[in-house]
């Protein structure tokens, strides 16, 4: 295997690197997924990671969600008022938030906060040879460090998205009441009028995948950090970029699949 054979298939180095990275992450995902089904469960570590990765991200997600709902409502309202369709605003905002904006924005925030955190933490552990020490001591670092983080992000991100969606609706309701007077029950009724299971279920499934990807990418970047202090920063930064990009790509695929389901 020399360089010429690679050049023949994918001559452009960055493109080759991207596919190499995708392949490595896929392989890493398979390894980690296999670890998820192995004993011991590492429940205390799982709960600890869930607390730090999920609960600690809650204030940021709540504030973002509230502002998101408000801004979306305030921006959409004049347009709908021009068409005399102000009553459609709750339904429109709810569908936008539940289907797309809520999952993607919250996933991006989690990519920024959680993936970078995991990348930096595992990266520093790699740099300080703690991971090597664990391997030497007989502890499976993939199980103890990576699988628990991936599992916790897989569970926590959907929960954060659900809470953020709810808070966004509260923000939207608050924004609605700035210009008009609408009761909460009417607002909720109008919000859920156009919402179907085809909006909620695919969006929720999507957030599970987002959570998994955030955990995997963050862990991969940190776990495979090179030696040297700067590699911690690189791992954290790379984790955010890759996770964010992955979220968009998965979102695109999810939308296509949802469309196919709705046609069927």
């Amino acid at each position: 295997m020399n360089g010429t054979s690679h050049k023949g298939f994918l001559p452009y180095q960055p493109v080759r690197e991207i596919f190499k990275e995708i392949g490595a992450i896929a392989s890493f995902s398979t390894t980690v997924t296999r670890q998820l089904f192995k004993r011991p469960l590492e429940l205390p570590e799982l709960l600890r990671q869930s607390y730090y990765l999920g609960y600690k991200a809650l204030p940021l997600v709540l504030i973002t969600g509230f502002i998101l709902g408000m801004v979306l409502t305030i921006q959409m309202r004049p347009l709908l008022v021009d068409f005399g369709a102000e009553s459609e605003l709750p339904g429109l905002v709810t569908i936008s938030i539940v289907r797309e904006i809520g999952p993607v924005i919250i996933a991006l925030i989690c990519a920024g906060k959680i993936a970078s955190g995991i990348g930096a933490e595992l990266g520093s552990m790699r740099v300080t040879e703690q991971i090597d020490a664990m391997e030497v001591s007989g502890t499976n670092p993939l199980k103890f460090l990576v699988a628990t983080r991936v599992l916790s992000t897989t569970f926590m991100v959907p929960l954060l998205v659900i809470v953020a969606d709810f808070i966004s609706l509260i923000g939207s309701y608050t924004a609605m009441n700035i210009h008009s007077n609408i009761s909460l029950s009417l607002y909720l009724s109008l919000s859920f009028d156009d919402l179907t299971f085809l909006d909620v279920i695919p969006a929720t499934v999507k957030t599970v995948v987002f959570g998994f990807i955030i955990g995997i990418v963050g862990s991969y970047k940190g776990y495979h950090a090179e030696m040297g202090t700067e590699s911690v920063g690189i791992a954290a930064n790379s984790a955010v970029v890759t996770a964010s990009l992955s979220i968009f790509v998965i979102d695109l695929l999810a939308v296509q699949i949802t469309d196919l389901i709705s046609i069927l």
Partner: protein
């Protein structure tokens, strides 16, 4: 350790809250789509469903009571729609209820509306088929609007041509509008009418004053009183004339139908003939008298006396 427990409690609250929100949202959504209620199924057939989709609402008396659960093509001209409706409203939907496809607003999604039936028809049963009504949809309205717009365009074009002709002075109306002599005529007529009005005002003012005969006639009561006297006299005269007329009538009746001399003189031919005969006789008598007189005059006895006297 206590701190760790506290963290777990916080995490637990967060997880439970999120799951609760999700479950409530799912339940609320399900209840909106009548998933957690007892439902019954009815069918209806359409020639076209006009974009109706599975999951669209079924509305009865303005209330969403169910959803469209299936749409199946039976053949080229028949589509069967399956509706899942809340069991609670079953008692209000009659067998002769009708079904139509409506739109929620101009741009809204399609809905199925159930039009109430009659009490005598009885309550609808499970798996019954309700009669459908084909309604006019937005496309038909737009098509009609397009046709109307075509007519309007033609009318506007005709109007444009008419106004152009009028402006160019073509035709009677054009001449009427554009000809200035007519305006001059109208101006002159108006001036004359003004003058006439002024004169009329003068006449009326004279009528109102008592300086002239007409004014006095109109405004002075003595003339009226005099006329009243004349009228009384005329009344009296007419009464006399009536009496005279009655007398004349009577006289005429007497002449015509009576037995008097005048009647006989006019109508009795025998009498007239008698008179004629008498007159002839009188004339003959007179002639004889005259002859007699002449004979006497010429007789000698009379002449003797006359000669003696002459001789003396």
């Amino acid at each position: 350790m206590q701190n760790k427990t506290s963290n777990y409690v916080k995490l637990g609250i967060f997880v439970v809250s999120a799951i609760l929100i999700f479950v409530l949202a799912i339940y609320y959504l399900g209840s909106k789509q009548h998933l957690f209620r007892t439902n019954f199924v009815v069918y209806t057939d359409f020639r076209t469903v006009k974009g109706l989709k599975t999951g669209n609402n079924v509305r009865f008396l303005g209330i969403d009571v169910g959803t469209v659960s299936a749409i199946t093509i039976i053949n080229e001209s028949l589509i069967r729609v399956r509706m899942t409706i809340d069991e609670d409203v079953k008692q209000f939907i009659k067998k002769d209820s009708k079904v139509e496809i409506d739109s929620e607003g101009l741009m809204g999604s399609k809905i199925i509306t159930i039009i109430p039936g009659t009490m005598s028809a009885g309550i609808v049963d499970d798996d019954d088929t309700l009669e459908s009504i084909e309604t006019v949809n937005v496309e038909d309205i737009l098509s009609e609007l397009e046709r109307t717009t075509g007519y309007t365009t033609r009318v506007a074009s005709n109007l444009d041509e008419i106004t152009r002709k009028i402006n160019q002075g073509e035709g009677d109306l054009g001449m009427l509008v554009n000809e200035t002599s007519l305006k001059n005529e109208l101006d002159r007529s108006t001036r004359e009418i003004n003058l006439l009005v002024q004169e009329l005002r003068q006449v009326i003012s004279k009528f109102n004053s008592t300086d002239n005969d007409m004014g006095r006639l109109l405004n002075n009561n003595s003339v009226t009183e005099r006329f009243a006297g004349i009228a009384e006299n005329l009344d009296s005269a007419s009464s006399d004339a009536r009496k005279i007329t009655q007398e004349l009538n009577r006289a005429a009746e007497a002449i015509n139908y009576g037995s008097g001399t005048i009647h006989r003189l006019i109508y009795d031919t025998i009498f007239i003939r008698g008179i004629d005969t008498t007159l002839l006789n009188v004339n003959a008598g007179i002639d004889e008298v005259i002859e007699t007189a002449d004979a006497i005059k010429k007789s000698w006895i009379i002449n003797v006396g006359s000669k003696k006297g002459k001789n003396k």
